[in-house]
Amino acid sequence: MKTRHKRLAIIVSGVIGLTVAGLFVLNAFRSNLVFFYSPTEVLEGKVAIAAGKTIRIGGLVEQGSVKRSPDGLKVDFVVTDLNKKLPVHYEGILPDLFREGQGVVAQGRLQNGNTFTASEVLAKHDEKYMPPEAAKALKGGTFMPGNETKKP
């Protein structure tokens, strides 16, 4: 009797847990929030985006495009995929890695089909890992893995 109760408890909690988990996952996939759109996809209407729907957009923060309000809370910047440019407006705290020329993913709504109001801004970094000296050498165009200048 005891083991049967235990087994029932395991099955019931397992089913409940998996159902809740499944609902979360399905919800994320259904709202298309597991991936982001590029400015080209958004601006050229390659994807059907319902008005007022929350979506994610991503690309690079264009060099020199970041404008902060005096209080530092409101930020305007331009996200580019090197083809099209999408202006983004955001109020809130930016992550450490948010920099001009760096990747960014913003969640929010498209306004008038050409500007984006973000409710959340996340920094996206690339898959490259190297010491600063190597990065400098790479910018100079002389980088070869294992061949860069030694750390002082």
Partner: protein, 243 residues
């Protein structure tokens, strides 16, 4: 072949191997930690925070590798009815679940300072979370059936169905525009990671792999004892190793 797959032989072989592999694990772990924390330089973008990678990436690799082993052993157990394969698959589940949890948790600790969020419903993150639920489902299913052979068979089928999730995890960063960056190491051609950072990463991954061998053998020995409790060899062995 039959001899090597016999639980009795395996039990004593594993007992002899465990101390040696454990010692090697300790050496590799220490070497990996030394290179990762003291020798590897800071990253040009992420500073010191990227050192979480030396835990996060090996843990994520292990979470998928162990799942493949578990499903593979489950398939062997289903087709050839080999007890040892069932025992191995059962031992994989809790270890794999713990590595999956570690990958998710360290990813969260890395994502907060770098991306700006603990969690995002990103394709890579979501599919790794599904992997965690698959492990939990395997353990719950296996624990809910009394007969160990039937339990192992049912769990093996679940594990095999869940294999579809593994390529989804791996290729999610290529199939979709995800917040998670693409692979650094498995890229075709040269890895986009500096050799001074790649060395500790690979060392830690190797250390985690043989650590897994140690803890899997420990678990397998326990399950062998329980399943073989009616045999004379278990009785003899317990008799000869009285405390």
């Amino acid at each position: 072949m039959h001899k090597y797959a016999s639980p009795k032989f395996f039990y004593s072989l594993a007992g002899q191997l465990i101390p040696w592999i454990a010692a090697l694990t300790a050496v590799l772990l220490l070497a990996g930690l030394y290179l990762g924390l003291f020798v590897a330089p800071a990253d040009y973008q992420q500073g010191e925070s990227y050192r979480i990678m030396f835990i996060h990436v090996p843990a994520a690799w292990m979470s998928m590798f162990i799942y493949m082993l578990m499903a593979g052993a489950g398939a062997v157990a289903l087709v050839w009815n080999i007890k040892l394969a069932e025992i191995f698959a059962n031992s994989c589940a809790p270890i794999g679940a713990s590595f999956t949890f570690l990958a998710l948790a360290t990813g969260s600790l890395w994502g907060k300072p770098m991306w700006g969020t603990w969690w995002a419903w990103d394709a890579r993150l979501t599919s790794e979370l599904i992997l965690f639920f698959l492990y939990i489902g395997y353990m719950a299913l296996q624990a809910s059936i009394d007969d160990p052979r039937r339990a192992a068979r049912a769990a093996a089928i679940l594990a095999l169905v869940g294999v579809v999730n593994i390529p989804v995890i791996h290729f999610s960063v290529e199939w979709w525009n995800t917040l998670h960056q693409p692979a650094s190491v498995s890229k075709i051609g040269t890895p986009s990671i500096h050799p001074s950072m790649l060395a500790p990463l690979l060392l830690m991954a190797f250390a985690f792999t043989i650590y897994f061998v140690v803890v899997a053998l420990l678990r397998m020995r326990n399950e062998i004892l329980e399943r073989e409790r009616h045999t004379t060899w278990v009785a003899d062995m317990l008799e000869s190793t009285k405390p």
